[in-house]
Symmetry: C2
Subunit: 355 residues, 2 copies
């Protein structure tokens, strides 16, 4: 029986860690070819050598800081058309903003029988609708696309700390091959029906983390933190339902829901930068300056997502149902004092509700 | 119209903080008498004065460290029979272990028309069944009893930090007076149908916090912490359903569910002591020694609850469905190495599940 081929699109930190997970799983597989291909977009390095060369000759991804050791059965390629054409399973792990251009270059090459999965966390708001990576991929390539998301801090997965993730599928039979590609003794996969919730919650949880970061700068204790996270979950779900009414309640309790939320609200970039943003409010610290000083120029997902959410809610005239998201937008982008967060929550919640 | 009388049974820290919340709410109320009564059990103080005297003359609860300022319309009493007889609304906030004796002394005095609410977090396993405080109160006094629970760290409520709580009711019309007694601008109440889930989750979340504490001692990152908390929620719910099959899924997303869990797993006594327990494993640190050194002799709820849970699951022969709870029991009480936690979770979870 012919073994299936796997390509990964992207060579950033998460792509590389996931690439190693997949490379290990296919090494002695009955189902998959033991070599996986990773598409690397690159300008040549200063040394004259290329990132792909370094990966293929020294098994070292030198585009990362620190460089990451790659498994020997992972082969880098700069030929996107070939990566697309050879793949039975396509794993998208490139930053969301490059997706459209990549898809444009890939679409004539992809096998009609291929399946894709998106590891991206983010969405765009376009013509009044939320545009998810899975939908972009399905539309451009004409093949089904699943989604993966969970509390998956890359370096912790790389060091084989126990973690779990959620794969969202639309057709049950599509889930199994991806479960086999990703699941292992320390990286546990739960596959559930539905691709939208996995992606919206993966993006929206970063907004809630901003809220927890602002609140921490204000010195709140654990009661208030828990309230903000719970309020956040409720707005995450309500926002998801606004655009994708079929997403079920059960999603919230999966690793892509509360699992990912817990991780993002107890550690991570959005939390840290939001705290610094609120503490530096008087000195007019900006998101751009924080990205430079705290993230080595990497972009922060939470503020980007918050802008998309604000745009989407404004267009639909539904801002008033999203008290938390809206006050976070005012603090993050309209110069409001961080303390407004607690004022608004106190004033907008009734003293009691009987349900 | 006659105004209703409120009594609080208990004068510990949580009872006192809640007493002040209620005292403020009744101060100018149409519905309630403006004086509330707090039952104080006491041996006389060394000074010859009593705790009740100090509260009534100086409005200071000197039984707490540091002493707490009490509202002037809160009156202390050492006469349990009178506290019981005068009350239209009875608030139980004494430690669970004194409840049986208190009820025995109160039962002939309580008004038949009174309503009760339990603020206690804990349960006992007796004759193969879980015995909740609400059931004990209802059986002994013959009046309905509601339950209150949430991420409610007492000193944060006392300093008016924003917080929320859940009141569980069996009959909707019983919820409103308690909502009015507890809800205010910074302490928000959501009342939902059902009393069992509020109490079981309030108790079980302490077990999960032990797990997070053990894991932190092992140096795990946020991926694994999120996994343990999510696994914890799932066992909390399964355990609850075993004894109370009617408890609905929605409970998990209330403040008494994930809200309280988040607080307990990010701060609090059980988390801190479990971390110290695991770090001191080689030196055979015990729960009793930690209670002495870290808690001034106060007892830790998590280990007590874990013993009840273990007893309940053993009797029902259902230990194998509760992998997390059982490995925590082995570490907490049977001398197992803390590292067993991660080993068991890794080995017992399949690489993937398709749901």
């Amino acid at each position: 029986m012919r073994k299936a081929h796997v390509s990964i699109i992207g060579a950033g930190q998460f792509a590389s860690v996931m690439g190693n997970v997949v490379a290990q799983n296919v090494a002695d597989s009955e189902d998959f070819d033991s070599r996986i291909v990773m598409y690397v977009y690159e300008p040549p390095l200063q040394s004259g050598r290329s990132i792909a060369q370094e990966i293929n000759e020294n098994h070292l991804n030198v585009s990362l800081q620190p460089p990451m050791q790659m498994r020997e059965n992972l082969v880098a390629s700069t030929d996107l058309a070939q990566c697309a054409a050879s793949a039975d399973f396509l794993i998208f792990a490139s930053p969301h903003q490059y997706l459209e251009a990549l898809l444009e270059d890939m679409k004539v090459h992809v096998k009609r029988s291929a399946l894709a999965i998106s590891l991206s966390k983010g969405f765009y708001f376009e013509d009044g609708e939320l545009l998810l990576a899975t939908a972009q991929i399905e539309t451009a390539l004409g093949i089904p696309c699943l989604a993966l998301g969970g509390p998956n801090v890359a370096d912790q997965i790389a060091s084989c700390e126990l973690a779990e993730t959620t794969i969202g599928y639309r057709q049950r039979e599509h889930a199994l091959p991806f479960c086999k590609l990703f699941g292992n003794a320390t990286f546990k996969v739960r596959a559930i029906e539905g691709v939208e919730g996995v992606q919206t919650m993966g993006a929206l949880k970063n907004i809630v983390a901003l809220g927890v970061g602002f609140a921490q700068a204000l010195g709140v204790g654990s009661n208030t933190t828990a309230l903000i996270m719970r309020r956040g979950i409720s707005e995450m779900f309500a926002f998801t339902k606004l655009f994708f009414p079929d997403v079920s309640f059960e999603f919230l309790l999966e690793s892509c829901g509360i699992g990912d939320l817990i991780t993002s609200c107890t550690s991570g970039r959005n939390l840290r930068c939001a705290k610094a943003f609120a503490l530096g409010h008087a000195e007019q610290v900006t998101w751009a300056s924080l990205e430079r000083t705290m993230l080595n120029g990497m972009s922060l997902q939470g503020p980007l997502c918050l802008q998309q959410v604000h745009k989407a809610l404004s267009k639909r005239e539904q801002k008033r149902d999203f008290t938390l998201f809206e006050v976070l937008y005012q603090i993050a982008f309209e110069g409001a004092q961080p303390a407004l967060l607690l004022e608004v929550l106190s004033h907008n919640m009734p003293h009691y509700v009987v349900i």
